[in-house]
Amino acid sequence: MAILEIQGLTAGYGSGPDILTGVDLEVEEGKTYCIIGPNGAGKSTLLKVVAGLLEPRVGSVTFNGAEIGGKRPDIVLSNGVCFVPQDGSLFPEMTVRENLVMGAYLTRDRAAIAERLDEMMDLFPILGERSSQMAQTLSGGEQQQLLLARALMIRPTMMMIDEPSLGLAPQIASQIFEVIRSLSADLGMTLLLVEQNVRMGLAVSDWSFVLDLGTKRFEGPADTVLDDPRIRDLYLGKLARAVEGPR
């Protein structure tokens, strides 16, 4: 059952060139997807458009039947789609607890918020320990956990995470991926990941989209997509073809 449908999506920043040049893809509920591709392919841009941070120039984005393309981020969120961006998006001068509470900004039900807060503290024990510390004093891995927990406060239907392992030491990164894997396994969440650490990203995913030059080149099961010969062309491009000669 396709929960997210993207058709012919074209987008860019300001008055600059198109970064996304026509993306078509479908995401099924409950599965984990990993978007991979060379630098500048438009992976982050794609997530930003879906999240409502960037308006599409052409094309549509439909979630659960509702058109969310071009809608404000808070509207997109109320549809059940949340986004964890790449660059620090914590509230630096708020405590861990306040950050988490902000995650549930769209909910006014105090009891529900308190309940979810407890859930998060259980899921991420370290956050419970540091709950009254300022968010900016946390370590990299702890901050990433906080970001994930904050996103979960709203009980989203689909979560989009941009580079979860960025700047993290390998062990911490694998911890984060463990958490991501359990989000899908235990909570049945639909996940859309962008990850440069391709192996780690694919290891927790069901399916993979390969992006280049603003469009989807091909897709395939996460465990076999790396064996596809087209991958080499994509990442190594002309050099590979020059070395190997025409096929």
Binding site: R72, G88, S89, L90, F91, E93, L106
Partner: protein, 291 residues
Amino acid sequence: MNTVIQVLILGILLGGVYALMSSGLTILFGVMRVVNIAHAAVIILAAYFTFFIWQWTGLDPLLISLIAIPTFFLFGATLYVTLFPRLEGSPRFAEMTVLLTFGLAFVLEGLMAYFFTGIFRQTQPAYLTEAFRFGPFYVPAAQLYALLASLVLLIALWAFLNFTHTGYGIRATMQNRTAAQIVGVDVRRASLISFGVGIGLAGAAGALFSFVFPFFPARHWQWIAILLSLIVAGGLGSLKGAVIASVVLAIVSAYVSQYLGPVWAPMVFYAALFLILIVRPQGLYGKVRRI
């Protein structure tokens, strides 16, 4: 010794009003990256607003401030919607707002000068000439009421930002606009309300200004230079910084006024600005932003 304490009292009294004036200005920057060069002109416009209502109805300026706040809130919201949407997304947004509000300041000054002329005005409620005596010290009633009103408003502002849903959203937007967006804050609405609040505070400040200082249209330049120096010293966007800088520098300028002459009092603020730039360019509580 008595003089020293007396000057301290006067400085504190003044500091409260300065804090109110600069708080609106720093919120505008903190939430929306708008540097409002026309802020003092708006304050003086509010002073005229208060003056004419006082002249026609005899209402106390402190009461008139209650009318001024919502009026100027609406004025602020209108200004925001008219002037700033076109600039949004511009890479040099903050600087563009400086130029834009610079032009606005001239428009407001010109209109006020044309309609109200350059005569010095001042509302004169009964307590203008009263003073309370505490032993050897006197506390001018007008300044005291102004300080109390400023405190009430600043506390109300603080409560708004820390205890209301909208206030939380505004604080979040001040700290990290993108993060606020992704947790569901409607940042456009938050910006609109913040702008209204900022200008509304200027409206209240103007009502107080109307009896604390004599005013005429061109006066706003002197005040905006002071207010801008205050918010830079306190850290652009930091409410705490603006209040602390206001009180501290008001006290220092009171001493300078007493011992070096009133002419030199404004110099304190400009000198403080340059000093802060040398020692701590981001201001007391400002964020160190990547260039």
